[in-house]
Chain length 506, copies 2
């Protein structure tokens, strides 16, 4: 049983409490809606279902109903999932990972703009999306003076509150009340040409207030929810992940020994997913202490580094934990409050801060090609997986940029090293290291042809090395020798997979 007074200390706002169904009446067809949520954290739990139900009823009545939906990043089945399934979304950005939403995008029903997450808030502010009719924001509580205590993710919440005409707040009673004070929310980065430097010179610098704010009169509804975040389980690190982690850790040791990297490394960024999480897990047993983190999403691996005393502190925009890790987080929240900061995505992903701090960026990929270009988003060149997220923000500005993947997928039918990537998200100019379980290619200071030798020999799976060498050798004979390619064959491996289910020639 929820007692509203426990979390909503502002009396005027308590008067705006209503059901999700009532609040959904504020949502009209064609609206441009900013909805919080970042990698399965901080998304509204009830209102999306109410909007979806309204959409279905409208569709049955023969009326059109859909919204434009701009989030921080991915949400969950009860947000992206229900809205996509109800055909209630006509435009979506900047990132998603829900199967229903993905299907809607790839079926051509939902216009999806894939974008760098550091661009989202500034482009909302600069008017690139026109006006926002509504924002739907999850928080963990409201203070006596009406300030909002964010939940497990901030994302674009601060900007959504500013640009939206009307605001619906979901107060989630299932979130830990002790989250209060963990956030660092800044209210005025400004619009060019009147911007000042972002005063973050270390991962744990606080530059703002811990609360989100908005004028009371903009809040049209308060909905009370009481359920957890997505909290997907991570796979235990397998042999491939361990081999990838071991090589990266060996390289760090080498660079520390050579005096090119501090003993406690540099602030670590880790992309989402199992492999990236496994690299963090590998650092638990590595000979580095006093580590720091400056990352977009903080997952189990980095949490455990902090709990083990290996990492001093970390900054992120969202916490994305497995159920077990969430328990560890809640059990240790008093300890963790001085070691974790959650910030708006505009700061966590800002190129200014990332380049200044000298982040070590580690991100997963779908595939890399022999010249070091990386595809993070498209399956076989045409189908959207999730999106580029913050991987570009971090990669281009990192001190070291790593891309990691097992060398093959689908029981060997797909090589993650291909002649040419079928979609380009990170170009040869940005990618410094490719790492698979087979080995690592250090691409720094290398020409394309030098890179090709390293990637084929060190990273490709043995089953594909001869095929790659054959392609490369024939490309070298075909024409220009800066970036040799056979244009009519460059994407043939992907086409073969589409047709036969295997990149290998049977």
């Amino acid at each position: 049983m929820i007692n509203a007074e426990e979390r909503i200390h502002h009396e005027g706002l308590r008067n705006k409490i209503m059901s999700a169904e009532q609040a959904a009446e504020f949502v009209q067809n064609g609206m441009n809606v900013a909805i919080t949520g970042f990698t399965g954290a901080g998304y509204p739990k009830l209102l999306p279902t109410a909007i979806a139900e309204k959409a279905k009823a409208e569709h049955i009545a023969g009326r059109p109903f859909s919204i434009g939906m701009i989030t921080g990043a991915s949400t969950a089945p009860e947000c992206d999932g229900v809205l996509a399934a109800a055909n209630a979304v006509h435009f979506r950005n900047p990132f998603q990972s829900d199967p229903s939403m993905r299907n809607g995008i790839n079926a051509g029903n939902i216009a999806y703009q894939d974008m760098h997450l550091s661009h989202v808030e500034q482009q909302m502010r600069q008017g690139f999306y026109g006006s926002f009719d509504l924002a739907v924001i999850e928080v963990s509580g409201i203070t006596k003076d009406g300030k909002l205590i964010p939940a497990m993710g901030i994302g674009h919440a601060n900007e959504a509150l500013k640009v939206a005409e009307k605001i619906i707040i979901e107060v989630n009673f299932a979130q830990n009340a002790k989250l209060e004070g963990m956030h660092d929310v800044v209210f005025d980065i400004g619009v060019p040409p009147h911007r000042k430097p972002i005063a973050i010179t270390g991962p744990f610098d606080r530059i703002g207030s811990p609360y989100l704010e908005c004028p009371e009169e903009k809040i049209v509804a308060i909905v009370l929810s009481n359920s957890g975040d997505r909290n997907s389980k991570f796979a235990d690190p397998d042999d491939n992940s361990k081999a990838i982690a071991a090589q990266i850790i060996d390289f760090f040791s080498h660079e520390v020994k050579a005096g090119r990297l501090p003993k406690n490394l540099l602030p670590l960024q880790s992309g989402v997913g199992n492999v990236a999480n496994a690299v963090m897990a590998g650092l638990l047993d590595a000979p580095f202490d006093e580590l720091t983190g400056y990352t977009e999403v903080l997952q189990d691996g980095m949490l455990d580094l902090i709990l083990a005393g290996k990492m001093q502190h970390a900054s992120a925009t969202a916490l994305s934990f497995s159920p077990d890790a969430l328990q560890r987080f809640n059990d240790n929240i008093d300890f963790l409050r001085d070691k974790l900061i959650l910030r708006p995505m505009e700061y966590t992903n800002n190129p200014e801060v990332i380049r200044r701090l000298g982040i070590i960026g580690m991100n997963a990929m779908i595939e890399a090609d022999i010249y070091g270009n990386v595809n993070s988003t498209h399956v076989m060149g045409t189908k959207m997986m999730n999106g580029i997220g913050g991987s570009g923000d971090f990669t281009r500005n990192a001190f070291f940029s790593f891309f990691v993947s097992p060398s093959v997928a689908k029981d060997g039918a797909i090589s993650c090293i291909v002649p040419m990537v079928s979609h380009h998200d990170h170009t040869e100019h940005d990618v410094m290291f490719i790492v698979t379980e087979q080995g690592m290619a250090d691409l720094r200071g290398k020409s394309p042809r030098q890179r090709a030798q390293l990637i084929i020999n060190n990273c490709a799976h043995p089953d594909y090395r001869d095929m790659l060498r054959d392609y490369y050798d024939r490309a070298e004979k075909a024409g220009s020798l800066h970036t040799p390619h056979l244009l009519m064959e460059a994407l043939s491996w992907h086409q073969r997979f589409v047709e036969t289910g295997d990149m290998r020639i049977k």
Copy 2:
């Protein structure tokens, strides 16, 4: 007749004056050499020829001789040209535009690393290239206390002086002595994690000293030169360039009217070349005053905006003028000294400053595809033209990012709008506007399929529109509808050009 005392006010350094041939004796086979030069400005005029002659003699004697050569950007025939022609270079980065150098790269004789110019200095400092045996630096004079007065370009000079074991200085007596005081050179951006914000909050903020410095004992030779920079002539704006400029200016007017852009716009960045220069020329007659510039290379167009009183001031790392513009620059140098700043490329191209200031980035391209990816570097996917230069640094961090090109080249045999670019330098996530003489496509907030409609209808040449529509329509029927492609046909236009000399089907 050169009088050394006129430009070299430090007696000890005058004792190190020698001929270029003598200085070339310090250059040994296999050395890693940092050579200044940025877009035909600030490169050594004499030493490269002396090194080339030495290389030829060594080769005749049957001995290997070549160097690794890291510049600011492109140089000129008497630098890149003579060294490439003498087979005296085995590694080159980060940018070049000399025909001999380009031929050496595309013939596979020179390993070339194409890279973002903002990365160059920090990667030198961070040890990514190992040690630097030598730096060769052009300056316009030396002060009494041994400080170096830069010439018409800075590029990576400050970092080259720091990392090189030995230094050879070319003092160019042909440069205007009044350049003294125009530069803003900062000496300590630091290595992560100990970096502070770069305190530039407006294009004309000075944050450093106007002089380059290095320990006297590192300087092993001073060579006296007396000849001008490359100073290539720009083509007069043709109808295509004027049409491109007119659309961009119309868009600016529209945004100013809507209140989304200040009346004096935002700091302008203009890429190199005729079309970019023509856009600046177009602003001469546009209804905007008090403009500012924050750009990598300042060309005739921006100079004339300043001289005409339309632009208040500008910051760049190099001045690249036609002979006529150079005359105007020298005639007005007292006026211009308070309106131009030259900085290291690490600052002009820094993502921190570019994003903070909210630059309007305008860069030329080789081709764009129907989804808004841009190729800036490779002809027909395999042959290096010049390099990415600073276009990526500016594009990804700009308030507005424009890519411009006439819609066709080679009398219509090449379409600059293609199904898939043959090399990816700027991805769909970074490119906001494509502009040809046919029209403009505003890609902001658009899905790939929405972008395709805009680019085909607005930007493609009429001769190619039906071909593009045919490709797109068939791709839509072939599979996933996020980014429709026909993988085996995506690069066929380029292959057809290679085989027949025309992208059109005859």
